[in-house]
Amino acid sequence: MKLIAETLSVMRGDRMVVTQLTFAVDGGEALTLTGPNGAGKTTVIRTIAGLLRPAGGQIRLEGAQPDRTPSEECHYVGHLNGVKASLTVEENATFWSRYLGGAAADIEAALATFGLGSAREVPAGYLSAGQRRRLALARLLLAKRPIWLLDEPTVSLDQASQAMLTKVVDTHLAGGGLVIAATHAPLGFAGSRELQLGAAALAA
């Protein structure tokens, strides 16, 4: 599978945040978007997820089933976690797993991978910011989707959890998945390319 963005332009308000951006990400590849605040990292990721409509250009998939759009093939983990405070950790995970069409067997493994196995019965409202972040990231493992869109995935994660995330991402890449991440801190994904955004856009 290959994700291709061609001459992508996106407006926010009346400002062109992303202008004529072209890139391609192959299966097994990670692309990290870097750049100063306001450079358009989140905008690019939200556009791929289908939340924003591009003002010009297009995003397409090669090697996917023909009727699938990128947004149906991707996991989007943005700044917000998508975690319901009144449901327990397990209820949150079970809901997303069933809703996104995952296998019930993966729920326990996903929670264990992100170190939430012992917090299963705790209402998510009582979790710390880092734990809530890990619950959001566990969604990546609950249902299998080839494209992972991660917006500042390491925010409020401790060192051990960051290493955990790197390991999970590397496994995903080794299995032929692709990852696009916006970040300020180096994430250390195996074989990741960097795309520097923003210098031109901010100067314009």
């Binding site: 997820a49 289908g50 939340l51 924003l52 409509r53 947004s71 149906e72 991707c74 996991h75 989007y76 943005g78 700044h79 917000l80 976690n81 998508g82 975690v83 319901k84 405070a85 009144s86 449901l87 209820e91 809901f95 997303w96 069933r98 809703y99 996104l100 069409g101 959001a136 969604r139």
Partner: protein, 222 residues
């Protein structure tokens, strides 16, 4: 069908655990109806005559209380963004959320209404039709109201704006709901047409409103 069912049961579980929206709507309905006789005085004939209108207007206002929060928590915690990349189109998500709102607000309010009818001296022959009009009419409130809830999602004090936008749209439901009850009070056969129109309004809302709500949600995510 699985995502549809899962989303519905999640909505019901959250409504049950939080509890506040059901409780507030029922409590508000109860208090408004109990206070009305105090304000209007103990004229039983007057109360019986205006009871259908009072019960319906108070029900609309009670249902409106929780409508403003229909999509708010999902926007704030990011669930809405995940829904947008999920298996259901946002139109279907909107339909499920409206259905859940009806099950947790419209339905309990409609079932509470006959008990409150007693407080207003509503004549006994009106109760069946009262509950029927409310069961048939309230889905329109939840589904049409969903449009307003989605449109006012990012507005500060969206609740007041929601009331201004949505209450006029509930006028047809109100008119035919009350006219069915009044008809049942004067002539036991004549409430049929009003009930049918009420059902038509609700069915049209259930079919059409989610499309508008979905479009409004998509705009809010931009």
């Amino acid at each position: 069908m699985t995502p549809f069912r899962e989303l519905l049961s999640r909505e019901l579980a959250i409504a049950w655990k939080d509890g506040s929206s059901i409780g507030v709507a029922l409590g508000f309905y109860l208090i408004v109806i109990t206070m009305l006789p105090l304000g209007l005085g103990p004229d039983l004939n007057l109360l019986a005559r205006i009871a259908p209108g009072l019960l319906w207007v108070a029900l609309l206002l009670s249902a409106l209380l929780s409508l403003g929060r229909l999509f708010e928590s999902d926007l704030e915690d990011g669930s809405l963004e995940v829904f947008a990349t999920g298996p259901l189109p946002l139109e279907a998500v909107a339909a499920v959320k409206s259905l859940a709102h009806w099950l947790t607000t419209g339905l309990p309010l409609a079932l509470l209404a006959p008990a409150l009818g007693l407080l207003l001296n509503l004549p006994p022959e009106a109760y069946t039709v009262l509950v029927a009009t409310m069961l048939i009419g309230t889905p329109a409130i939840s589904f049409v109201g969903g449009i307003g809830a989605a449109l006012t999602l990012r507005t500060r004090r969206g609740g007041l704006l929601l009331a201004l936008l949505m209450l006029p749209l509930f006028v047809p439901t109100l008119i035919f709901g009350i006219s069915a009850i009044s008809a049942a009070l004067t002539n036991s056969e004549a409430y049929g047409p009003s009930l049918l129109i009420l059902a038509a309004i609700s069915l049209a809302s259930v079919a059409l409103a989610p499309v508008a709500t979905g479009a409004a949600l998509r705009l809010q995510l931009q």
